[in-house]
């Protein structure tokens, strides 16, 4: 799961991470930790969406109008979508405060706007209400949020990495939403004693003295961040040879995944992995390692076969690579 999160930070286009697992396996904790790891990004001052001054195409309308936008470094947003959120807060609506006190119509950006260029985290994604899922699907597909309400019409960019977590026993995820996640991982509790003791011990240390704990692990975090930044820099130069493309295509054909999203994700993830590990080209080892999380939720499946889809990927992998 850690690797999947890091890779989606290296290349946001992989398209998010879905973490499914039992209760108490630290899914939410891992996602929240990501926020601290991410290097800051450059954003236009005063822009509610945190536009990137260097990417002209993806600017919101007000930013595009500015000729020489000022910018500053801001932390990458990791936005929580809490359960029970109402629609208006997700997509944005009129600013109630200003409407009431001054009688003005002003748009107040919602969570989607805040998550632009960052991460949107949905805990218990399988419990999300259907009409919110519809909304998210639409925005995630178009990268743009359109709001029509109270006679105002606003469109603004909303490109974010979707991160979901949940417990499959509490309900399944809609296939359309499932497809939006680039990587899917299963989280299990470690079942060796030393690891488990260490988990409890660290948690305890944090609770008793948060400041000391953070200071202690700060170095590790910095190291990881440097690795992340280096991987991002290397990403454009990481080559994907024809052979790797063919491998990916063969794999997906053997597994019978729907559409081309599987191949695309697989290649992107493999490239991110190569960059993360400092390799110049994508080789089979990368593909092999990243194929299960990239493909296992895309199999055209008998809905009953959920438990074994990982095994199916593994089997095809063995066939393809063993030969």
């Amino acid at each position: 799961m850690k690797l999947a999160l890091l890779l989606s930070a290296v290349d946001p286009r992989i398209g998010g991470v879905l973490a499914f697992g039992d209760r108490g396996t630290g899914k939410s904790t891992a996602v929240r930790a990501l926020a601290a790891l991410l290097p800051k990004m450059r954003a236009v001052v005063g822009c509610p969406y945190g536009c990137d001054p260097e990417a002209m195409a993806g600017l919101c309308d007000p930013c595009r109008a500015k000729s020489e936008p000022q910018s500053r470094m801001v932390p990458v947003p990791v936005v929580d979508l809490p359960l029970g959120a109402t629609e208006d807060r997700v997509v944005g609506a009129l600013d109630i405060e200003r409407a009431l006190t001054r009688g003005e119509k002003a748009f107040e950006p919602g969570l989607l706007a805040r998550a632009h260029r960052g991460f949107l985290y949905i805990d218990e994604a399988n419990l999300l209400e259907d009409h919110l899922v519809d909304l998210l699907l639409d925005v995630a597909a178009s990268g743009e949020n359109v709001v029509e309400r109270e006679g105002i019409s606003i469109r603004h960019p909303a490109r974010f990495v979707l991160i979901g977590s949940g417990n499959p026993e509490e309900g399944e995820l809609r296939p359309q939403l499932l497809d939006r996640f680039g990587l899917s991982v299963e989280v299990r509790t470690p079942d060796d004693l030393p690891t488990r003791i260490e988990v409890v011990r660290r948690r305890d240390a944090f609770e008793r003295d948060p400041a000391a704990f953070i200071a202690k692990w700060h170095k590790e975090e910095l190291k990881l961040r440097r690795q992340l930044v280096a991987a991002r820099d290397r990403l454009p130069d990481t080559a994907v040879p024809e052979a790797a493309l063919e491998r990916a295509a063969r794999l997906c054909m053997a597994l019978g995944t729907d559409g081309l999203r599987g191949e695309l994700t697989l290649i992107r993830a493999a490239r991110a992995l190569a960059a993360y590990e400092g390799d110049a080209t994508v080789i089979d080892a990368h593909i092999r390692r990243i194929a299960p999380p990239a493909l296992r939720h895309r199999l055209r499946r008998n809905p009953l076969d959920d438990a074994v889809s990982t095994t199916r990927v593994e089997r095809v992998l063995a066939e393809q690579f063993g030969a």
Binding site: L83, G103, E169, P303, A307
Partner: protein, 612 residues
């Protein structure tokens, strides 16, 4: 500190009320740390007495709020305060119930009927210690460090609070076993608890004890990392109550017993059970290992002298300690837990916690309003007046200005304000498969029947229906799978379905009907799909003949018709049976001989039945 002393040297038998009182003290001591307690038992004097005890243990000014079952999100998490907003002319946020209870205790009424959605919201609050809500144009962030008492009035073993919530509450107390005359005991010592609270932060946890805690959790098959964490906090609490600076093994054992015994999914491996018996000749601070409840307390009076010693001696063998703790838990595991565990193991090796998790999901969906959403007013939609007003309120100044003077409406509501009630799908169907797994059916085509059920399951998945499986063979019927929409579980329970034995059709129909009744009470629509060859040979009463068995089956079938439950009868015999047809007729069921239908046809048939 008479209380604390009482905790360390408890009376010779495991007194459930003593445990309950300790739990109350621990909860009062550190509500946020331990999360709370699931209190199983009907409303009654015992429960009232426990709650009163808890109330007296916490400080007078600490919030102690009761949360009704159907509290809407606005009330639970907070939202726009309509009345105040209109009065003040600016948005006024209303703090939710959870935020109001910050620092105190929230009582969740009828927790066994909480929806998973609500449970997830509560779990979020427990995890973060604050309420985060994005509602009604407001972003709310209020501290809510609460402990929760989930009142679980479930009558059936299946009716339990949602696992996501129960997981986060350290204690699972069963009050049903406590008689009113057993209650009482020590008077509440609020001052002692308050004093212990100041000490709590300084209680240290020896590494060996921590390792033993984690090892015990592992040995009992407890997968979640939360359980040992909770047990650790509980152990600290016990030590603080007993005025000790460090957690002793006795504290740890007690904490494990309180926290782990209801969470255990398997018995510790036998090698660890036998080891303690060889332990007596080990270090002097390890008293002879107790093997059952009667032995354990015999050792309990000893601890005071040894208590000081383990801290000064740096040698505590975690392994040995873990065995001690395990022994204490085994003594506390109720007998039916063991049999349940064995049963679960016998049927099929399941993943950790799964056996319980599914069972607890039974009461999650009901036909009741679950919130509102924006939308058009159309036939059939019901408007939520309050929510509509709430969404219209903020825009009144703008609208008044647009309209100009002369308007008469006090509040102008426009179409985009409409908020419609959302209900849980009223049409949600639960297909109850009553599968004949008897010898005659096994002979014929149990495998085919299983295949057909799997096909139907896939179909149910598409329609988002729930499924339940009842199997009957030998002399009884059992519910293999309570209503669930987890197909993985359904498939697993089918795969583990053994065949052979007599054909107790009456028992099978009775069980399916009982389940259908429970389903209907939850506002869902049951469908019974009976797969059998119709040749009943086991009557309700043991000893009666085959004819009686057939008559019983017919009688049971008539009850289905009387109850008005939609039914489908699939004849699994090699060629259509007259008996099966008659049975179907008595049930008022659609009759479908399997020889003529492949699995796809079967699936169509169920759909047709479901839609009538």
């Amino acid at each position: 500190m008479s209380e604390a002393g009482g905790a360390a040297t408890r009376p010779p038998e495991l007194d459930p009320w003593e445990d309950a009182a300790l739990v109350a003290r621990l909860l009062a001591l550190d509500p946020t740390g331990v999360g709370g307690v699931v209190l199983r038992g009907f409303a009654g004097p015992v429960r009232d007495r426990w709650l009163a005890l808890l109330r007296r243990l916490i400080a007078e000014d600490t919030p102690f709020r009761r949360c009704p079952l159907n509290a809407p999100d606005g009330r639970l998490l907070g939202g726009l305060d309509l009345a105040a907003t209109l009065r003040a002319g600016r948005p006024v946020a209303e703090r939710g119930l959870l935020a109001e209870a910050d620092g105190g205790i929230v009582i969740l009424a009828m927790a066994e009927r909480l929806s998973i959605g609500t449970a997830a919201r509560l779990a979020m609050v427990l995890d973060r210690g604050e309420v985060v809500a994005e509602r009604d144009g407001l972003t709310l962030r209020n501290p809510a460090r609460v402990g929760m008492v989930a009142l679980d009035e479930g009558a059936e073993p299946d009716e339990r609070p949602p696992p996501a919530l129960a997981e986060r509450l350290a204690f699972h107390l069963d009050l049903t076993a406590i008689a009113l005359s057993d209650t009482g005991g020590d008077p509440p010592d609020a001052a002692g608890v308050a004093a212990a609270r100041t000490r709590l932060a300084d209680v240290t946890m020896p590494d060996a004890v921590l390792e033993a805690l984690c090892g015990t959790a592992l040995a009992l098959g407890i997968g979640s990392a939360r359980a040992p964490l909770l047990a650790m906090r509980v152990a600290r609490g016990i030590a603080a109550l007993a005025v000790r600076d460090a957690v002793t093994e006795d504290d740890a054992a007690r904490a494990c017993r309180l926290v782990f015994s209801t969470r255990a999914t398997r018995l510790p491996p036998p090698q660890q059970e036998s080891e303690p018996q060889q332990a007596p000749d080990q270090p002097p601070d390890g008293p002879p290992e107790p093997q059952d409840a009667a032995d354990k307390p015999a050792e309990a009076p000893d601890p005071p002298p040894t208590e000081e010693s383990p801290e000064t001696e740096e040698e505590i063998d975690p392994q040995q300690l873990q065995d001690l703790v395990l022994a204490a838990i085994q003594a506390a595991l109720p007998a039916d837990v063991l049999s349940r565990l064995q049963l679960a193991n016998a049927v099929v090796a399941r993943g950790a916690a799964q056996g319980k998790a599914g069972a607890q999901k039974a009461s999650m969906r009901r036909g009741r309003p679950i919130g509102t959403r924006g939308g058009e007013l159309r036939a059939g939609a019901r408007i939520s007046l309050i929510e509509t007003l709430r969404s219209a309120a903020p825009w009144q100044p703008i609208r008044r200005a647009q309209r100009g003077p002369g308007g008469t409406a006090f509040i102008e509501v426009r179409r985009e304000d409409f908020r419609l009630m959302r209900f849980k799908q009223r049409s949600e169907t639960v297909s109850i498969f009553a599968v004949d797994a008897s010898g005659s059916a096994a002979l014929n085509r149990l495998a085919e029947a299983k295949g057909a059920v799997e096909m139907l399951l896939a179909d149910c998945y598409v329609r988002r229906d729930k499924v339940a499986v009842v199997a009957f063979r030998g002399s009884t019927a059992e519910v293999l799978l309570p209503p669930t929409n987890s197909l993985v579980r359904a498939k697993r329970s089918l795969a583990g379905l053994p065949g052979g034995g007599g054909t107790p059709i009456a028992a099978g129909i009775d069980a399916a009907l009982a389940l259908a009744d429970a389903v209907r009470r939850r506002g869902q629509t049951p469908i019974i799909v009976l797969l059998t060859d119709g040749r009943a040979n086991v009557p309700r009463q043991a000893g009666a003949g085959r004819d009686q068995a057939q008559a019983d089956a017919m009688a049971a079938a008539r009850q289905v018709r009387t109850a008005g439950v939609t039914a489908l009868m699939v004849d699994t015999s090699p060629r259509p049976q007259e008996q099966a047809k008659r049975l179907a007729a008595e049930m008022g069921a659609h009759y479908l001989p399997l020889p003529y239908s492949n699995a796809a046809g079967l699936s169509r048939a169920v759909r047709a039945v479901a839609e009538t």
